[in-house]
């Protein structure tokens, strides 16, 4: 932290959510740090941030924390509710605990790190962001994920990567089942480098060679009139 960093603490037991979000939108400059205490599961905290600031949230957040993030680095020192980092554009969101359903849904850029487990539908409709999950992900994760990468250090639930487009998934643990059109592919050196890089960014130390690559077989890309009711 350099000497110009401005640290501003907010306690959500005494300050309203609207005041905090207003401050984060209108009264910060790049490089500022904001500490938020006692979120107590409140919804929509630190949403739509546009400056390269650091926000530390001490406690558990409710729905949509750090959604639509641009440039900011948001750390949740606790668990996150549904839709954390939904539609993130850039920057970084780090959940130290577990994340509920739909973490990183539709995220277009930036990095989402979850140290614990993620619930169902993690990375649904992912559009370009990277997601690193230290634990396991629930069923239907990466459903219709279009671009971006997911590194899953634990296990994956049912229907992983159902209807994947160009997103690529790396899984260290067991995969309960793959979704339609998802397939396991050989890990290349390039894949290992990608995993190593993302793990390093997330602060996790696993061997990249332990991961499997899951990507689209691209069989759903084109309508096959002969398939009739096959799928």
């Amino acid at each position: 932290m350099n000497s110009t960093t401005k640290i501003t603490p907010f306690d959500l037991t005494t300050v309203s959510l609207r005041e905090v979000n207003h401050y984060l939108h209108h009264q910060v400059s790049s490089g500022d740090q904001v500490d938020i205490l006692h979120p107590n599961g409140i919804h929509n905290l630190a949403v739509g941030l546009q400056e390269a600031i650091a926000v530390d949230i001490h406690g558990h957040t409710g729905y949509y924390a750090a959604g639509m993030n641009q440039q900011a680095s948001v750390t949740i020192h606790g668990n996150a509710g549904a839709g954390v980092a939904e539609n993130m554009m850039s920057g970084r969101v780090h959940v130290k605990g577990f994340a509920s359903v739909s973490a990183g849904a539709s995220a277009q850029g930036g990095l989402l790190v979850i140290n614990g487990d993620a619930g169902l539908r993690c990375g649904i409709s992912l559009k370009g962001a990277d997601i690193v999950v230290g634990g396991s992900v629930g069923s239907f994760s990466a459903f219709m994920a279009q671009a971006g990468r997911m590194v899953i250090c634990g296990d994956a639930g049912d229907a992983l990567g159902d209807s994947l487009y160009e997103a690529v998934l790396y899984v260290r643990g067991t995969i309960k089942s793959l979704g339609a059109d998802a397939q396991i592919e050989p890990m290349t050196e390039s894949d290992q480098a990608i995993v190593a890089n993302l793990l390093e960014q997330a602060g996790l130390s696993y061997d990249p060679t332990d991961f499997q690559r899951v990507a689209s077989a691209r069989q759903l890309y084109h309508w096959n009139a002969d398939a009739k009711q096959d799928y």
Binding site: G41, Y63, G119, L120, F140
Partner: protein, 299 residues
């Protein structure tokens, strides 16, 4: 959308505070369910031969003392009543087979919300805070509680459609979600003599599970059959004489979070309803997995 709330007290010293701990949980879920609220509290069981009946009279003013007295004079046995506005908890040394028809005949405006040896039940229309205030929820004592805030999505807003729903004795269920086959469940149960009070989908689940237990299933077996028969989205929280049980559908569409400490197990749709609980910062927190059964027993 609806809010579900449950609390089971492990530490007997906290059982007098059950209602006081529950009310902020319930109010925390008010935004998920602003039209009605309800609560079932499980207390120490009354005598083996006695039963408690939670009664509700709606807008009809009932002389509850007279009801208890008339019941006693006409049917014998003992009868006592504890009243709170348009709710009355009648305790009587008479079987439900005798008491229920008598109430239906002599007090047709009175609804029997629950029957059993441990359960007291209150439910009504209104904001959860108003309902909690109306029935003095913060003063309730007991071992565990099942509560609900309702945002009606599939049937009318009336006190009868509010949750918890009950069936049989000492069994209640609250639900966040919606079922797609309540009428087929109902068409299966009605020919077996099971009566429905409302057209609500949750009532179908409640009566189905209680019917399975009447048929000999234990709670877990009944829930397993429920996974096969009940189609739709649900987080169900159930209370029996000595347990709380929680299940979510295969897609876990509806939220739930559990906090466990040495003193209690607390359940809510969202963490914000748990944030005020004592020592919550040191609780074990987790989200229940889809189609898994979570059952906690009063020790």
């Amino acid at each position: 959308m609806c809010g579900i709330v449950g609390l089971l007290i492990k530490n007997p010293a906290l059982r007098d505070s059950l209602g006081a701990l529950t009310v902020p949980m319930l109010i925390g879920m008010a935004e998920r369910g602003p039209d009605s609220a309800g609560l079932a509290v499980f207390t120490q069981p009354i005598a083996e031969s006695d039963r408690k009946y939670s009664l509700y009279s709606g807008t009809t003013v009932v002389d509850w003392g007279q009801l208890a007295q008339a019941l006693h004079q006409q049917l014998g046995g003992t009868a006592q009543i504890h009243t709170q506005g348009n709710h009355g908890i009648l305790s009587a040394s008479l079987s439900p087979a005798v008491v229920k028809p008598w109430i239906h005949e002599h007090y047709p405006a009175v609804h029997i919300l629950s029957t059993g040896r441990t359960i007291d039940l209150y439910k009504d229309e209104g904001q959860p805070a108003a309902v909690a205030e109306r029935y003095g929820f913060s003063r309730l004592k007991g071992t565990h509680v099942v509560a609900h805030t309702r945002m009606a999505t599939e049937s009318a807003v009336t006190p009868a459609h509010a949750h918890p729903f009950t069936a049989g004795e000492d069994f209640c269920l609250v639900h966040n979600g919606s079922l797609s086959n309540p009428y087929s469940i109902r068409r299966m149960l009605e020919p077996r003599g099971i009566h429905f009070d409302t057209d609500n989908d949750t009532e179908a689940a409640c009566r189905y599970l209680e019917w399975r237990m009447q048929e000999g299933d234990d709670l877990k077996s009944a829930l397993q059959k429920g996974f096969e028969e009940l189609d739709g989205f649900f987080t169900f929280l159930m209370g029996t004489q000595d347990t709380l049980a929680l299940v979510r559908d295969a897609f876990a569409c509806k939220p739930a979070i559990v906090a466990e400490t040495d003193d209690y197990v607390a359940i809510a749709s969202e963490f914000r309803s748990l944030a005020h609980l004592p020592d919550i910062d040191h609780a074990t927190l987790y989200e229940p997995a889809p189609e898994e059964m979570y059952v906690w027993t009063v020790s």
